[in-house]
């Protein structure tokens, strides 16, 4: 057994693999959470085609589970001391590593596209809100729910509806509805408190906060889940794989 590397390295490798295995399972679970989209912000990204935060999550569902399986295989092959199996383990974990890198980078890059500033979301809101297309209806539903639940209005503030041309503006005259009535403050039964005050924009009758904070928070938490957690796992995996390569050469 002397030629199969020191037992200390072996112990480290097995421990490292156990940790990666568990982290892989956690990544798998978290990615399922992201793809389930509990904040329901998918339309924002789907409409503009920048939905690769979810693509990253789908990839990491695969890689999370693959990490788990490959590490189980790795532990078996290391314990058995079989060179061929260790070689196969190294190849497999490198492939999974590559995919996980892609998932992290994709997810974070597209997060930057969508929420690094509010312009994309704002433009989308103005072009699709109340538009009579499938995408329009989808996005309208999403915005209505946000504005009501989060008590916000517009992207950065209610004046987004007023300052720019939009489908909404072309459909409703400004005198009647300067902004959607979902911007109006409502009582616990969701009845508008004062319509005239809302129309004038009196601070007590309109939601003055923009919805972008909420959207940013949602997309950020997805991107953080997929990218940073994946990144942490990759940072841990790197020394373990290097050690395994070293171990392989000494076998």
């Amino acid at each position: 057994m002397a030629e199969k590397g020191s037992p200390f390295v072996m112990g480290l490798l097995v421990m490292g693999n156990v940790v990666i295995m568990l982290a892989g399972l956690a990544l798998y679970a978290e990615s399922v959470w992201v793809t389930a989209d509990p904040y329901k912000v998918y339309p924002i990204m789907g409409v503009s085609g920048k939905d690769d935060v979810y693509a990253g999550a789908w990839i990491s569902i695969f890689t999370g589970f693959a990490f788990f399986c490959v590490c189980v295989f790795g532990i078996i092959s290391l314990v058995q001391g079989n060179r061929l199996m260790v070689l196969l383990y190294l190849v497999l974990i490198l492939v999974v590593y590559m995919f996980e890198c892609a998932s992290c980078i994709t997810s974070y890059t597209h997060r930057d596209f969508v929420v690094s500033n509010s312009n994309l979301v704002k433009k989308q809101m103005l072009t699709f809100y109340s538009a009579d297309t499938y995408q329009g209806r989808e996005l309208t539903r999403m915005w209505d729910r946000f504005m009501m639940e989060q008590q916000c209005c517009g992207t950065t503030h209610p004046l987004d509806w007023v300052n720019f041309t939009s489908v909404f503006r072309s459909r409703y005259p400004e005198v009647v509805a300067p902004w959607p009535f979902y911007c109006c403050k409502r009582d616990p039964n969701f009845i508008i408190i004062n319509e005239e005050g809302c129309r004038l924009g009196h601070v007590d009758y309109i939601n003055t906060k923009g919805c972008f904070e909420h959207i940013k928070h949602a997309v950020d938490s997805y991107a953080w889940g997929v990218s940073w957690f994946g990144f942490a796992i990759l940072m841990l995996t790197c020394p373990v794989v290097l050690l395994a390569i070293y171990h392989y050469t000494t076998m």
Partner: protein, 364 residues
Amino acid sequence: MTRGLETEPYEGRLRDLGMFSLRKRRLEEVQAVTERREGSDSCRQQRIGLETMGLNYRREVSRQCCNQEKSTHIGIPKSNRARISDDTLRPQIANPKFATNNPTLTTVTLEKPFCEFDGSMLKGASYEVYLYVMVDSAMTSSSSLMDTDDKALRATFQQTSGGQLGAYKAASFDVPNCMSPPKLSDAADVAKAPAVLAQYLIRVGDDSACLYDPNFLEACNPPLSEDTSYRFKFVLVDKTSGAMKDQTLWSDPIKTNKLKQSSSIDTWPGRRSGGMIVITSVLSVLMSVLVAAFLTAALLAVLAWGRDYHLDGVSSKRRLFSDGYPSLKGIQERLPMQLGVNPKLSNMLTQDEHKKPLSPTPGY
């Protein structure tokens, strides 16, 4: 420039020329204002009341107070006095706390003229206030609001083509009650809000339907045009005779909003975030390190295998692969032996090869 005074400072020059020094003139202005402000106790209370209620009026107090005191100004150049009243008796845009979206594209929300006309109202007579609207560029033409027999003008939106040819009457309402102005804090109270808003504000351009309604006979108040400057004026009118009793000055020009094209919004994310740069660069480096290490290890293994192969073939193969399982070499070594042990099988194989091109053996 007057000769001999070049070296003097500006105020010195004025003094030498027998003019007021700037400072003195400014002081007098301030005195005039404070005098009027603090003229009488009731007046001051009223003013403080108005201010605490959030009314926007820069005008000191009601005309009533001012009228009494106007005669008390002594020693103020007349032009100054005129300018002060200029500042104070114009329609004002509503307090931004009441209307955050103001002016909008097609509407302008104004404060109602609280206490402006108290001095001109006689007891017993009933009055109302007319609001006139005019496009700022129309100011050059006659801006008189009286027709031939001293009555207030009744021009409509259509007649003046939206205020471009002259002032039109946009709305009429009762004279706001100076004694009980609305309280800003009450607007937060749902029960009182409609009343407070209606008492305090007048929204120009509020009625989008009246232009197209054939039954509408009152003064129509249709939406204004966007990106246009307007001026406004309140006029006190005797209800019974229709005669104009008093008026404010024209307001400062107030410009309605202009829509920006939503397609002009630049959605470029700009600088990449630090997180993205860190993730991408660190992961690329780690990936390349791993691949390089793996390739090196593989190369080393192949080289070691090649070196050992020259020394002795069998054991080197056992080094490259495992020794727990039969190696490829081992299988190759054993295969002919097995074939030799079982001559029937090898026979059948060779026979089969010979037969195959001719006809397949049925049942084989």
